[in-house]
Amino acid sequence: MSIKQNIKTLIVEKPLKLDCGQTINNFPLAYETYGSLNHEKDNAILVFHALTGDQFVTGINPVTKKDGWWSYAVGSGKSIDTDKYFVICANVIGGCMGSFGPSHENPKTKKIYGTDFPVITINDMVNAQINLLDFFGIKKLFSIVGGSMGGMQVLQFISNYPDKTKTAIPIACTSSHSAQNIAFNELGRQAITADHNWSDGNYNSKNIVPDKGLAVARMAAHITYLSKKGLQEKFGRKLQERDDLKFGFDADFQIESYLRYQGSVFVDRFDANSYLYITRAMDYFDLVKQFNGNLSDAFKHTKAKFFIISFTSDWLYPTQENKDIVIALNAVGANVGFVEIESDKGHDSFLLNVPDFLKALKNFLDKSYAEKFHEARI
């Protein structure tokens, strides 16, 4: 893959002290933008990607040659309208689409980092991305938006930089990773590290890939992104290109074949060590603990307008966990709207064509943007 030539990169010179204690500087932060920044520089939206996402939000991803991960929501005339807004998205640090990550070479040892890469956190990811604002000369973003781990970044961002955005939209997320969330992530990590090819994280130097382990990790995770009802309706007990059971362990059922496919395409585009690092960052995320048990304190300095969105069939980050964020915001008198969207597409609903969701997102953004003209008149 000719990754580098299609990737825009900001070299962050300023030292960044990571939560683990190490300090990094002169590190690459890969990003992409859509639309154009207006003269007042007040139409910028920073989109945060989820676990396996990247900076290529919409259009054709130049590396994978597939649609961007949020093509339903972002684009010309869409919910996050690129005719109107300037959309920025960066690959998180620890990732594998150009930003500083475990597949990079350690300048000191001249070897690929692997598990020598420092453990990063959601806080570190956000603190790396704030540099994009200076780079583009943006004093205040119009909005920050993200689903799942992207939503966690939204919450962390606003708590770190309360006056850097006018609006904030955390979607299908949580303020603190639950035991169940950690358990699923651990399952994925164990699958990867149990693959012989993983070689204690040094597979790159041997030119091998722990593809079996990474595929299993993806398969397990993929199940958590869907709902029981959604799976049942789509696959049921339908058989895969056969009329009857084969009494063996090939993929008899369509769901098996589907998961195997999901696993196999994933290993082509994602780095196993990045998967370890990013899931770890999610597990370490606990904004409640960061504020000594009072989540409200994370938001007490912000005047931003919030819109929280959850989905009925999301059992990974269920409505109640999203509502806890609403409650914490209301406790400090923040400006917060909330809606739970009816969908049986599970946690993945935010990535899919769910018209009620896309409509709510568009309405909130466009109405909030229109307020600036109203304010200007006063």
């Binding site: 409650i327 969207i341 309405n363």
Partner: protein, 198 residues
Amino acid sequence: MKPEYKIISDLIEKDAKVLDVGCDDGTLMEFLKINKSVNIRGIEISKKKVQTCIAKGLTVIEGNAEFDLKQFPNDSFEYVVLGQTLQAFINPEIVIKELLRVGNRAIVTIPNFGHWKVRLNLLFKGTMPITNYLPHDWYNTPNIHMCTIKDFVKFSKIINFKIFKSLALINENVSDINNSNLVFKNLFGELGIFLIEK
């Protein structure tokens, strides 16, 4: 727009912080936003109506007033509005107390079950009354705790809150309710509008 919205608006001071409980499609919220430039929030149980409010640029959270008022700290708002929904709650006493906890004042409107049409309907027809303000059949009504204007006044003494101002709506005309005309207003008022305090 419902006729009482103008009256509710007149009870609210300019620039106040207001919560509309059961804000429906946000009509009252919009009216108050424009006329009183209030800082207004809404809470609404129907997803569809929350969507409508969001589309109007209103700040609304999806929730059930009976359980979700808990999240607001004491005295979060100067006014809390509860329009024609008190009778639909399982426990109206808790709701009233919650309204007065989160707000300094509350504006509560009730469809008056003591209205003469309601009384005659039951007396002569012998069936559950259906009127403009109570359009449902007994089997599909959300209204499980109907009361009269007189009942509400009595209720204020029982659970101990002050009625600061009470108004009756008769054919879209508004008039004051006081001790001497209570019997009369309870017979002719279609809607009771109360501004209450702790």
